[in-house]
Symmetry: D3
Subunit: 306 residues, 6 copies
């Protein structure tokens, strides 16, 4: 074969193309934001794939009879729980080290040994919360079971309902957020978001017996506070009232800007509730309602009533 006419040999052209692209991409990396912040071997961020495995492991340890392997019986259940926790916590510890190192490098360069020590402590503190997480999830499952006429058993709720998937990830992520590993927490939230269409920021504080039905399109913001026994339907937004921007075009950061939803509230599909307002205990918010003012306890708000 004669290679003298490159125009008729696309494979040959491809070689030159790849060489050129590799060089261009290197140049872009060298001059981009990504590169400026670090040197040589950049710290890895926590891995989404690892966190998927970790949440699966923790879920199986929390509900071994339902989410553990088939065939598990009394002889092996505690060994399974202990071993699964051990593996998941070690993997979680590795991810926490990644986040601490990532933050540290941007700051003052803490030593690795110290980071690992700190990560172990965080993983241990997290582990200590697992029984409480299990009890909260039990209450969420009961709420779904009692609140949905279609549910035949608590087991069915656990394996079927996207709302339970979302709240399981949230309760894990929320503890990690509180302990000071917000990026790890956020990736866990986004895993649930991708699987369910339910987007709960890890910072949101949610009490027991929480139930989201259907769920696609639900958004719950960072500083939201939700009381006991609250029920939400699909496409509900608990958001910030974004129109209050500062003069320089920057949104003010970190302040309490999302709703407080008190105990026993029901919010129907498509309702949009914005700003640091309070939905009083026992209120019912109708579908598609747009709400930016607080409501008294026991209110019923529907389209046209506000």
């Amino acid at each position: 074969m004669d290679h003298s006419d490159p125009d008729t040999n696309p494979a040959q052209n491809m070689q030159r193309e790849i060489d050129a692209i590799v060089a261009e991409l290197r140049h872009i990396r060298d001059t981009s934001l990504e590169h400026r912040q670090r040197r040589n071997r950049p710290p890895k961020l926590p891995s989404r794939k690892a966190l998927i495995r970790i949440v699966e492991g923790l879920s199986a340890a929390l509900f071994p009879n339902r989410l553990g392997p088939p065939g598990l019986n009394e002889a092996g259940i505690d060994y399974f729980v202990g071993h699964t926790l051990d593996v998941a916590l070690r993997e979680l510890c590795d991810q926490i080290v990644r986040e601490l190192r990532f933050i540290s490098e941007q700051d003052n360069g803490e030593k690795d040994a110290s980071l690992e020590q700190r990560a172990w402590q965080l993983a241990k503190d997290f582990a200590g919360e697992l029984p409480a997480i299990r009890e909260l999830l039990d209450s969420d499952i009961r709420a779904a079971f009692e609140g949905d006429p279609a549910a035949r058993s608590a087991d069915e709720v656990l394996v079927c309902y996207p709302g339970i998937t979302a709240i399981t990830h949230h309760r894990i992520a929320h503890v990690l957020h509180r302990l000071g590993v917000p990026l790890t927490a956020r990736i866990i939230s986004e895993i649930a978001h991708s699987a369910t269409g339910i987007d709960i920021h890890p910072g949101a504080a949610i009490a027991e017996r929480f139930f989201i039905d259907h769920g696609t399109g639900v958004v719950i913001g960072e500083t939201t506070i939700i009381g006991k026994n609250v029920r939400l339907y699909q496409a509900v937004t608990l958001g910030a009232k974004r129109f209050d921007v500062a003069d320089d075009g920057q949104l003010v950061k970190g302040n309490a800007r999302h709703p407080i939803v008190e105990d026993d509230v029901v919010i129907y599909a498509g309702a949009t509730i914005l700003g640091r307002i309070t939905i009083g205990k026992g209120s019912t918010i109708g579908g598609n309602v747009w709400l930016t003012r607080s409501t008294a306890p026991g209110s019923t708000v529907t389209q046209g009533t506000h």
Copy 2:
């Protein structure tokens, strides 16, 4: 290394932590709802992972040229279809046994042999519906192809459109729901919900030539009845009118509570249609419409018109 100061050895601490958590979790399991209902080796629920495989197998058997393996040709196509069905139906039978055993244990404790016999019969009855399912899906694909100016071929619709993914899962799940394995059916629906954001309850009765475009956020309730040639866009809800709660706070169960949508109706994005109302043949419901009353055949309903 000296282990005498546990506070400086997080790995050592972790061991005590895990021992404690394993014990606490066991205690919670022993006292929780989960445990009370059963003894020793709890029956497994149908497995989501297995049902994903089963639906993939059934889909490949229904559309071997499009969804089967590459390289398949006339010599092997019927062997492929027969073998793939055989495997998928045996796996389905195992999942049905799990559901029957789960229900049975809660009730009167039917013998396993009898359950397996019943599961085989159900799998056989389901199998007998597959040709009808294929014909319905053909009509759905044609409706999408004819109704979407962007579609270039029926094949493209089959492999690309999330609405087709959702209706394929639904048509399979609906037959299973009707045959009496609602949990298996529900898990199949949730598989499609997670992949597409389209949430169709397996109980919904949907006639031929059904098409959902875009689809994210669509919710179709359990007792919905949909006629021929109906088209839906994203974020449409066909739901129950939830405000009619009983005095004791319990929702009434099992009654017909979702809309009837007659033939040739189009419902645009974001419309919310609630309660056992009837959308008359050939009606058009505009985007974001909130509708809780029946419409006459041929109606056009838009924001502000009702």
Copy 3:
């Protein structure tokens, strides 16, 4: 075991059932639309699974430090980028051949050798756009980082935000759409749609610094044009105004029917913007707004203001 009474032997019955179904399905295939269009070994469509791998490969080549394998260092980074591109582009080329052959068979039956030549050229042209894609994505990440008070670093945005997943797939798909492989492009868009709930048609033209927050339920139509520095929230629709149907019930195809969104526009959650209208530079569209008319630059549109 006595096989004389088939009614009591479901496994035996199953055999006859499968034989019958295989025959019925063959009959349906033989008479269906699917079969009529082709002969013998039907051309395969581009494979969703292969395209998932390809986009992962391209993403890792574009952002090797963030999305490449752990442990990568300066010694190996260009080899990794070059090899990953080489593999991804060859796989992409195979998928393009499938699309070209599929179209060709419906038309005039172009020779395979010629199709492969054309596919190589298309893959090469696509490859040449990768540096530009990387620069656009850098601008998108910066926009997200600057526009979201919760974002702590550009890296976090890249690995966490579903809006970045969606725009990465879109920028790849858009180039392929423009080069003439719309089906391959569409499947890539649907991969992102399934993972994020964000549905961007590959035809949409989107300038730099584009950011979608939360994102579930966003739909952006084929002929949409979006300027620089535009921000969208969840459930925003940039769609066609569907009520303008022709007398024969067919929608007119291919014409410009989706909005033009000029630079520096913000559109809040749930807004629905329909038809070939123009949202003027610097406008703000409030949540849940329903908009079918153009707005002047600098407008603020909220519920009740239009």
Copy 4:
């Protein structure tokens, strides 16, 4: 394409060919030995793949620090050992059920429930031998370490030496053979045979501190008895003296027909020792020696000396 001339369309021919072969193979199965012994769904034999997994699990439980997963530490080691044993013993139990059912069907058709009960008991009895197996293997590793000048540590011996792989499989298989599941035992022996070229029948009784160096081609027969501290090299045969056939051409079965090797014997490469003879304590058998008579304790036998 015109299909009228089948001779020029091999893919078409292939279809007829496969149909014919399927029918012929069915006919052969129907008339073969394989089929005559059973009805309908034939019992499965123990699975080689499952037994590979089981032996790996048991090995990791026996030597968790060396053969367990990386990262294991004190916090998790007992959970790992317990969980790994639990899984391996349940899988082993399933394989034992297969063997018992296979034998039972050939005999009198014992009930399945009874078989499972028996299998659990056998698995439990086997499990009780694991500590003794570990201690024997420790002695074998020490013998290899002390007997081979090239070995630098006991750990190295454990992970490197094919002789240790072979004896680990043998010590497990021998217990199973003794407990009455000879087929399961045999498959385990053949797994080691395939990996190492060392063929030890599970029936052979081998005392502590046994070491085989290099090992390829070693054959040790069913009724062989080997004392403490014996060392073998490659291609040694401890076999039956096959020339003593009965008049009817059948070999007599089950009688003691392989050598007894007393304590502290060394047998060099290629030696062939046949028949129920005794190699006296402390003897040395030279390379390639052919030996069919007993030797006194302390003998040295080389080529030409016997």
Copy 5:
């Protein structure tokens, strides 16, 4: 970090090292024998991994009840056999194309379309031999079962005995060798050699009821002819008498140079039989015998007798 002193930065050095090695290896490839024979994209040889899969598929199709998947029953067995054959034969056809193209390129450059046609014909011819292969293997299994007092059932022989693994591969490879794809045949033989230590050249002609016990180290040369009902033990060589080299140091090729073993012969472990000699019907060759002369029918040859 300061990179000015490369000697203290091994990772940096590694980069230069890899660049240099890549260039050196390219230079060696360009000048080596490997490169000289071909141009641009070199033809792939048949793939060992693919052939492992193919032989597993063919084995499962030949013995579906024993080597097929668990759970297979009458309803699905012919679909399984047909589908498995279809897949295995198409994969085999691809491997045959590779071999034909590899040979063709070295010769006159036959067209690809013609090669594929030829490969289909060869695969079809091979497929036609499968029933005969199954019958031969049945006879081999019976011979092992009858000849080994330790064998309890034919099923056990099939799943356990390395001699059966070796002869199964050989009977498949021998047909392919005869049909003219010797490299594909050879790779199949080497797969068995690696798994069992038994090395049978695909050219050897072996009649029914052939049994090898233990087997490690057996070598059977290309032009060997073996009659019915022959039994071999480990480390038997049926080889060429290599001392008859030609004057130029080249061995003469292709001539009949290995033994003829007539019906009903038994050859014990370690016997070496060299050259085109004939072992007469019913002879017994003792262990470790070195034999280069023909023996009369009914002979018994032991060490010292020849």
Copy 6:
């Protein structure tokens, strides 16, 4: 179910059994040789599975056209080689760190940072030898091709011949042995031993154009020296003469105790050559010969001649 009679509930018994075994195994570990040498988290040994991957990677980098992935072409070959080397060398470096740490812990406890530095240097030194390894392997392949009348091409030799698999592993292992990581080297040798039955100690020095035919049972000892153009057949042993033991029963270690084989020697199947003797240039050693004395150049040794 009543658990009061444990004897009738084997699953219940199993739990107590596992608890007891876990405790017993812990006790054995605590008192065994394995445990005494280390504290807390024991250093991992190099991993066999990782080394299998590493040798596959190195082999593909050495012979990319033959052993690399299908579809590789000129555009991508250097990127493939560079990337594959980069990955394999980093993995190799990790394994070397394990070996260095393992040795270090037994000795004086060198710092980890220093170990990693040393490992990088060793990996770099190893990498520098790869071109020489490729050239040696080219010579080995040529020798096999020229020496075996059955070989049709060098490519066939590379993919088919177990002797080439063995020498490829050896040439890699020998460099590592020489560089001071003998355990890593040994594991690589044992990988080849298991796959081919050929056992070459990594310490053996083997010059170019080395060929082993058939190979099962070949053993080549640590201090063996083999000249150019040497050919071996199956079951050849180049071993130590073991009878020269010291008074205390310990074998003397590290001294030259295996044969020197000069250029152009052929050794036929089953020959056993023991001790530090020299086989003179151009000698031929016949099958099954037992040889413990040196031979003059050009000798021919057969059974009975010595």
